[in-house]
Structure formats: C-alpha cells, structure tokens
Subunit: 185 residues, 2 copies
C-alpha cells in the first residue's frame, strides 16, 4: 500500500478503479459516502475522476503513553501482509463537544473509561491498523483509520468494532462510515 | 485581526503591505525568513505577491488540562485590545525526536519539567496569545504563535521568551523565527 511517510498526505480515492474492490459501504452515523466499486490509495492527488477523495496525514500520537506504545509495538503486525486480503477504511468525525474537552478529559474518556487502546490490543497481531489525521486539514472527517486482516479474522474485527462503538468515546462520534474492501492485486 | 474561527486556515503574509509594520525579524535558530516590511493576516489565500506566507489552523489543545484551561480563561485577555499596539509572530518547528515521544513524555517535558503554561500564565493578562497549528498541514513550521501586548509590556514579553527558550522543551526546537510588529491601522 502507498501512503506511508509521516507528514505526507495520503489520498483515498473511491471510484471505479483501484487495487481494492469495495465489498460494501455502510453508514454508521451521519452523512454517508457515494457509491464506489473500487478504492485506490495514493501518495499524490490524481486527476482521474473519483466519486470521492478522503485525505489524511500520519501524525504524532495524541493519547498513547510510552508504556502503551511499547506494548502495541511488541504485538502489532505491519500493513501489506500477503494473507491480509481484507481491509476496512473507517472515516470518523467527532462532535464539537469532544474537541472542547481538555487533553486530560479526552484521554480519560479515550482510555481510562472507554479502553480504546486496550480493546484494540486484544485483536493484535491479527488486525493491522494505521491512523490518518485530517481534522487540521479541514476535511469532512477528523480521522481515517485503515485496517488490514485475513478473511478468517473479519468476525473478530467486527467484534472489536461492536465493543468500541458501545463505548463512552463513541457518544462523541457524529459521523462514521465503514468501507469494507478486498485486495484485487 | 482576521483569522479566528476554529478549523479555518489563517494566512500570515509577509511582504510590503498589511495592517502590521515589521519592526524586525530575528532568526533564533534554523533557517530564517526573507525580509518583509509589513504583515497581513487573512482568512483566505490572497493573490498579491508576498515574500512568504505562513499558514496555520486553530485546533484543539494538545497538553492543557481542564484545570489549566480554567485558570488561563480566567486571566487571559482577548486579541484586538486598542492598547495592544505591538505584536509578535513566532513560528516554531520541533525536532523529529520530539514528535517520536509519546503523549505522556511530551506532556512531562512541556509542563512538569519546562512549566510552559505556568510561565505563560505569569504574563497574563498583559500578553494575549493565540496558537495556530501547521504540522499536519505540511508547512515549514509546526506552530505559529501570535502575541499582542502594549508597548510598555514588551520588556516583560522578552523576559517570558528568555525563560521559555532556556527550558528543556526548547532543546527540541530546531527552527524558530521571532517577528516583531507594530499596528499601523
């Protein structure tokens, strides 16, 4: 997959071409996204007609402590594993109320009360993950999270999402779309 | 001053026109900025020729706790006070080592060890301040901080900068330019 370097923009283009075939696009809350049969992931803006383009940037971690980062690093798998033929792109926007919380309040909701990192850790190394930020870019979402996993782990992946979406943190999510993909190359 | 709304870009244009006259541009570390006699602050990109344009976005706070935010709010002054005829724009870039630190490590350097917020608080309400983020925008700096104060408080403002620049946090700063301005309108 393209779109790696920290500080560089990554373009997720939904349309009729790309290395990922769209299995389904599900609107979890808020406004959905237009239909697309394929997704391409690019390091640069491409002039081809797209149904939509979501732009994100890899950035520094905002809540993860050094201990948590170490635990994640020890367990996580890289993107691009040959067996990880499935992917999900989940764009999320949080409410103004979330962003008005102070850093310690957001951290407390994120981990101490919602156990976001702890829950995600249970699904490592089967589910590989990369977070892209887009709030400061002014786009329609605040984050784009990219997940890769083998077909036999999609049930576990769905289980993880059910748990996260039931958390206090998700009461601050007002737009979420779940795009499921299968590798075509 | 323009450039207010959260999530909107603000354009700081250095050149020969603008509501602020440049008193001096001092390179504190790293590469400097080209000479300019005036600075304009705009909500939109303007086609006029500029010596340089720095773009930032207001965003959520990254380190401030609720208690600190409350104390700042109780003491701080707004921008645009008639007596605040002086301003400073200080663009800063931090090192890759800083950005590789985990959130708890950055917080500890920022406040527990460098007392960034506590030092700034001592200069309220005389020095008004607004932070713009630009790291995720991919520009040449990570932050642009805008300060406004009355001429008689410039000595105190300089004193604050001496203290901050002597802190552990500043060992992670590898580019900093100090632009001093006087209101012309």
């Amino acid at each position: 997959m393209s779109g790696g370097a920290t500080g560089m923009k990554t373009y997720f283009n939904g349309g009729t071409a790309g290395e990922w075939a769209v299995k389904r696009i599900t609107t979890i809350c808020g406004t959905g996204l237009a239909t697309a049969t394929h997704l391409s992931v690019e390091d640069d803006e491409t002039p081809a007609p797209h149904a939509w383009t979501l732009i994100g940037v890899r950035s520094n971690q905002r809540y993860t402590t050094r201990n948590e980062a170490g635990a994640l690093l020890a367990r996580q798998a890289p993107l691009g594993r040959p067996e990880a033929a499935c992917a999900a792109l989940i764009p999320i926007r949080k409410t103004p109320l979330w962003w008005e919380l102070a850093q310690d309040e957001r951290r407390a909701v994120f981990e101490e009360r919602s156990r976001h990192t702890s829950i995600g850790m249970e699904y490592l190394p089967q589910v590989a993950r990369r977070l892209y930020h887009c709030r400061d870019l002014g786009g329609p979402f605040d984050f784009l999270t990219w997940f890769e996993f083998a077909p036999e782990h999609e049930v576990a992946f769905d289980d993880m999402l059910v748990r996260l979406r039931a958390s206090e943190e998700w009461t601050y999510v007002d737009r979420e779309v779940d795009i499921r993909l299968v590798r075509t190359l």
